[in-house]
């Protein structure tokens, strides 16, 4: 359709987003670095291997329990590098600011970026600012980019994932999405849920000690754990079989999801890690995660299985269901 336009569904991180990326951007920009469509591109020169990534942040509200857009923008890019198996070296930050934006608020956001960068052990080394007319942006948009040095102990990729491998999650899911949604105040729900925004490079560095037993990592942001695991199933050509009861969800988050009729598996995280490891290394991986403050709630949630067609399946106490990719978006503008 030549008169088609972009709709909000195209930005939701589900099937429509993938279609936009693959059908338009990849088609026009195709090159071997972009083609894998991973969280970060891997660039090599003279034996050095670098990971490169970028991400934009349009979250509303700009501040929410547990964080703000600045912290989110630093952690998000740090995490894209971390789950690619890289330690972040430096970040850049671009700001699109709406005319009339309070300077004090801007300073607060810059300050929380600095705090997040310090926590992740990375510097915001370059930046850019643009101011647009009132109405041309919703307060503030932030874009960060980052470069990281690959940890050569681990070799990660869909092609490294085998049937029988185990899937781990570093802690309770759905906290960020629910925190932001409740912070908008539209729902009148009083639940004390904070965003889980956090840098994952400490956790991923710990897991890299497993060497080649560590197969694949991802941070399940937009579209939640379900979407990330669907990408895993498709990428690895294997089914993911989850034990639904093993997936950690905080009790109050689960309650909020029940009230809202939302499946927590589809709600975004900003400080959680999904890792696939060999069956032999599963216990070690769990111990490594739980030994880190950000992984105290880590759990073994499922395994990979050979299948005629790759699916994500969840075993419930009653039977099984298929966990498909997200269509549309229950919670827009959460990152």
């Amino acid at each position: 359709m030549s008169d088609a336009v972009v709709t909000l569904a195209d930005g939701a991180g589900g099937k429509a987003s993938r279609k936009l990326v693959e059908g338009l951007f990849l088609e026009e920009l195709r090159n071997p670095l972009l083609e894998p469509l991973g969280d970060a591109a891997i660039v090599g020169r003279n034996g050095t291997r670098l990971a490169l990534t970028t991400d934009s942040y349009v979250v509303r509200p700009l501040r929410f329990p547990g964080g703000d857009i600045g912290e989110l923008a630093v952690n998000g890019t740090v995490n894209d590098l971390a789950v690619s198996g890289a330690q972040p070296l430096a970040l850049t930050a671009g700001f699109v600011i709406e005319e009339g934006f309070p300077l004090a608020e801007l300073r607060g956001i810059a300050r929380s970026m600095a705090g997040a960068a310090l926590a992740a052990g990375v510097a915001v080394a370059a930046g850019d600012t643009k101011v647009v007319e009132r109405g041309a942006a919703d307060g503030l948009y932030v874009t960060t980019a980052g470069v990281g040095l690959l940890d050569l102990r681990a070799v990660l990729g869909f092609d490294r994932v085998r049937a029988g491998d185990r899937v781990l999650v570093s802690g309770g899911v759905a906290e960020h999405g629910i925190a932001v949604m409740l912070a908008r105040g539209d729902l009148g729900l009083a639940v004390d849920v904070e965003s889980d925004t956090a840098p994952l490079n400490g956790l991923t560095a710990a897991l890299c000690a497993l060497g080649t037993e560590l197969r694949w990592m991802r941070d399940p942001t937009r579209g939640g754990l379900a979407t990330t695991l669907n990408e895993l199933a498709t990428g690895a050509g294997l089914s993911v079989v989850l034990e639904e009861a093993a997936i950690p969800v905080r009790e109050d988050v689960r309650g909020a999801c029940e009230l809202l009729g939302i499946d927590p598996l589809y709600v975004a995280n900003e400080g959680k890690l999904v890792a696939v490891v060999s069956p032999e290394a599963a216990d070690d991986a769990l111990a490594l995660l739980r030994g880190h403050p950000l992984g105290a709630g880590a759990a073994l949630v499922g395994e990979l299985r050979e299948d005629s067609r790759p699916f994500v399946l969840a075993r419930t106490p009653f039977g099984t269901r298929i966990v498909d990719m997200l269509v549309g978006d229950p919670l827009p503008r959460i990152c």
């Binding site: 539209d186 689960r254 699916f311 969840a314 269509v327 549309g328």
Partner: protein, 372 residues
């Protein structure tokens, strides 16, 4: 989580499943309709169908409010939303529903219409009070479940004299829809799992005609897995004993007389339409609600020109058969091909409570077996 986990206990579910097996007669098939889309969704979300004996077939009914809105009404909604003075407020579910030429409110929004997602009609009224220069139109959709909230909002709008607020009412009634299904030829449904949420409002008495006139049992059920299994057991017991009565499995929420306050609000604000067009089911007499004369000033259909065109359901789409329990979603020729949740042709594919969307999302067209 209290009030949830008790009804999701796996051990209790397996005990109920064993009881269900003892209640069926081998080889005698029983077809039960779960009227409400919430039940359809729960059945597939929990993989509950695996616990039913082979003899019991669950078919899906018309109780998904998104699914029963015909394309003409969606076009009317889009035409209202495209008026420059209008801010059109809708539940998120309705935004992706295709009208004629497959255009949706979401697309209208992308092209510049002022469409706002709200979680309650009161949110729409709040927008009207906050933005007095806009004409806020609320897309009233749903059965007796959501209609009282619309009614209370209209009562409040009148009380506060909010004049830039109106409702485009598409509220519908469950009783006439059940009658239409029972009156349709070749109906072979043995009993009904009655809707839970609707019954909190209307109570259990309005289903008595199903037993009296059509000889079918009805069990009103809650939405947790063990509620549904329990309701199926109650229906099987009635069928075995040759009874056809209205029973209430959802006694913790539903009373026989319903919610008198909600019913009074409905009576004050709405009139029953002569007939209302349903997606896939055609026009059903006295099945829809319009705003009463006293609320004419808040009635979008009276305040704005609405095209009101009747648009035939797409020929390829078998929503009507799905809503009547005559076809499984995967028996429809366009299911999963021309009609997917990203680009739905039929409404049953849009809402997560739609039978087609539930089948698609939870993969029941793919019939996957998982070894224990």
């Amino acid at each position: 989580m209290r009030f949830v986990d008790e009804y999701r206990d796996g051990r209790a579910a397996h005990a109920l499943a064993a009881e269900l097996r003892s209640l069926v007669e081998p080889g005698r098939r029983v077809k039960l309709m779960e009227v409400c889309g919430g039940h359809t969704h729960a059945i597939y979300r929990h993989g509950l169908d695996a616990l039913l004996p082979d003899e019991v077939e669950l078919v899906h009914g018309p109780g998904c409010p998104v699914c029963v809105i015909p394309m003409g009404r969606v076009d009317d909604a889009i035409s209202l939303a495209e008026r420059p003075e209008v801010a059109f407020a809708s539940f998120g579910d309705m935004l992706r529903v295709p009208g004629g030429r497959r255009r949706s409110l979401l697309e209208a929004k992308a092209r510049g219409a002022d469409v706002r997602t709200v979680y309650s009609p009161l949110d729409a009224l709040a927008i009207a009070e906050r933005e007095p220069e806009r004409e806020v139109v609320f897309f009233g959709v749903g059965f007796e479940t959501t209609a009282p909230a619309t009614a209370l909002t209209l009562l409040r709008a009148r009380e506060r004299d909010v004049r830039n607020f109106s409702v485009f009412s598409n509220h519908v009634l469950i009783g006439p829809a059940l009658r239409a299904i029972l009156d349709s030829p070749e109906v072979d449904i043995d009993g009904f799992v009655g809707p839970g949420h609707v019954s909190t409002v209307i109570g259990t008495r309005p289903y008595e005609f199903v037993c009296r006139e059509y000889g079918r049992p009805v069990v009103v059920a809650g939405f947790e897995p063990n509620d549904i299994l329990q309701a199926v057991a109650m229906l099987l017991r009635q069928l075995r004993a040759g009874r056809a009565e209205v029973e209430n499995e959802y006694g913790r929420v539903v009373r026989a007389e319903g919610n008198p306050d909600a019913l009074a609000a409905l009576g004050e604000v709405f009139d029953v339409r002569e007939d209302f067009e349903w997606r896939g089911l055609g026009a059903i007499p006295r099945s829809g609600l319009r705003l009463a004369e006293a609320f004419a000033d808040w009635d979008a259909e009276r305040r704005f020109p609405v095209p009101g065109a009747r648009i035939e359901d797409p020929k390829a789409c078998r929503c009507g058969d799905v809503l009547r329990g005559r076809a499984k979603p995967f028996e429809c020729g366009v299911f999963g091909t021309a009609c997917t949740p990203e680009r739905p042709l039929g409404t049953c594919m849009v809402s997560s409570e739609g039978a087609c969307a539930a089948y698609y999302a939870y993969g029941r067209h793919r019939r996957v077996e998982v070894p224990a």
